[in-house]
């Protein structure tokens, strides 16, 4: 007997995308990386290309009082990169401004 689990995620979500609200679908991966010493970097991958990442990074920098940049990656698209461990901040902020739902955020790292 083998039962495939029914995924809660709709496999055709991408196809019928853009119907009602402008909350994106797909996961947003929030990662942390260690740099030298106690320094860290936070990266946010998977934000929809429909958003102006430059604007987002601008307000994030202001909000979290950290520096940040947008990196163009051939495979992952535009990736947000912020200095320091901004995982909590970015999660709260993304949900607050309505760019992503809490269950779309996937936080990696320790």
């Amino acid at each position: 007997m083998s039962i495939q689990n029914l995924n809660t995620r709709d496999p055709f979500a991408d196809a019928i995308k853009g119907n009602d609200d402008d909350i994106q679908d797909g996961l947003v991966h929030i990662r942390i990386q260690q740099r030298n010493g106690r320094k860290t970097l936070t990266t946010v991958q998977g934000l929809s290309a429909e958003y102006d990442l430059k604007k987002i990074v601008r307000s994030c920098k202001k909000e979290f009082a950290c520096n940040g940049t947008v990196i163009e990656h051939p495979e992952y698209g535009e990736v947000l990169q912020l200095q320091g461990d901004q995982r909590e901040n970015i999660c709260q902020w993304l949900t607050k401004v309505g760019l992503a739902k809490p269950d779309q955020l996937k936080v990696h790292g320790f």
């Binding site: 039962i3 990386q33 260690q34 030298n36 970097l41 991958q45 992952y76 990696h108 790292g109 320790f110």
Partner: protein, 312 residues
């Protein structure tokens, strides 16, 4: 988190361990699990008034009192009001409206016994009541008290009944509810200033029944770093990490790749099937695909000059 491993056989132990060890349920944050177990505990702990008192004591350690009390339903309690000895622990712990009732009973009983000692008749009456109420308790421990009576059965009675039936039909389940597995905490040490050693990495991979390679990939992808096994079968990870942090990552690994997504049993096999990993459960037979390990975007953290020198 403490270092204790092995399976925990007893009820009492379980409750203590919950707090101290790296156990799977805690890892998964299974709250409902305790609830599920409750009726079973009840069923197994049943059997005579003597056992019952122990049982009540035990209960007071845990946080799950609510269920237990339900078998005394309100009508019966009121009937037995003047005296309700032997139930003090339970009574004081009890939440909601019942609490008031039982508390009152108990204090009344105590007062009577102490102040009216002279009046033998009353005392005897009290004792008689005591006996009676104890009888009632025993009666109620039989699952089917409502048989023959036309009162409404409570949800908890029904729940208890169904669990008793389950236990009856599956005697092997009675022994150890479900084998919980408790894992050794990771031994994580700093190596120099920039590296961390994960000494019992192989052990942990073995206890989880996963390929070290798979666990390694996951750890490194999650931590966003690089690392490798050294000569002594320990994992050297680049970067500084605390045991707690590694533990968090392990928890996530267990949740995603070890425990069955349907029944949460840890007896699972991870198979690779046409580029996808499937988690096949040995207990319930469920089979579901699990997320592939991707490290995703990795920012450049090293010295850019060095990288440029390498590539050109």
């Amino acid at each position: 988190m403490d270092a204790e491993d092995g399976f925990d056989p007893t009820l009492l132990k379980k409750k203590k361990k919950k707090k101290t060890t790296f156990d799977l349920d805690a890892a998964l944050g299974l709250e409902d699990d305790t609830k599920k177990e409750d009726p079973q505990d009840e069923a197994s702990a049943e059997g005579g008034a003597a056992a019952e008192e122990d049982n009540l004591d035990l209960e007071s350690f845990g946080k799950k009192k609510k269920k237990k009390k339900k078998p005394f339903n309100m009508d019966e309690i009121e009937a037995a009001i003047p005296s309700f000895g032997g139930d003090d622990v339970a009574a004081s712990e009890e939440p909601e409206e019942e609490e008031i009732n039982l508390d009152m009973d108990f204090s009344m009983a105590k007062k009577k016994k102490k102040s009216k000692k002279k009046e033998l008749d009353e005392l005897f009456a009290d004792q008689a009541d005591d006996d009676k109420s104890e009888d009632k308790e025993n009666d109620e421990d039989n699952s089917s008290t409502w048989f023959g009576s036309d009162r409404d059965y409570t949800y908890d009675e029904l729940l208890k009944r169904v669990f008793e039936i389950i236990l009856d039909k599956n005697p092997d389940m009675a022994a150890g509810r479900k084998p919980k597995f408790v894992m050794r905490p990771p031994q994580v040490l700093r190596v120099g200033t920039k590296k961390t050693s994960f000494a019992n990495f192989m052990d942990i991979a073995k206890t989880l029944h996963r390929l070290p390679k798979h666990l390694l990939d996951f750890l490194l992808a999650e931590l966003g770093t690089s690392g490798s096994m050294d000569g002594n079968q320990q994992l050297i990870i680049k970067g500084r990490f605390q045991p707690k942090q590694i533990e968090n990552v392990l928890r996530r690994y267990i949740k995603e790749y070890v425990t069955c997504h349907t029944c949460r049993s840890p007896e699972t096999i991870l198979q690779k099937d046409t580029r996808l990993f499937f988690l096949q459960c040995e207990s319930c037979g469920s089979r579901c695909s699990v997320a592939s390990i991707k490290s995703g975007f990795q920012a450049v953290t090293g010295k850019r000059a060095a990288i440029r020198a390498k590539t050109t």
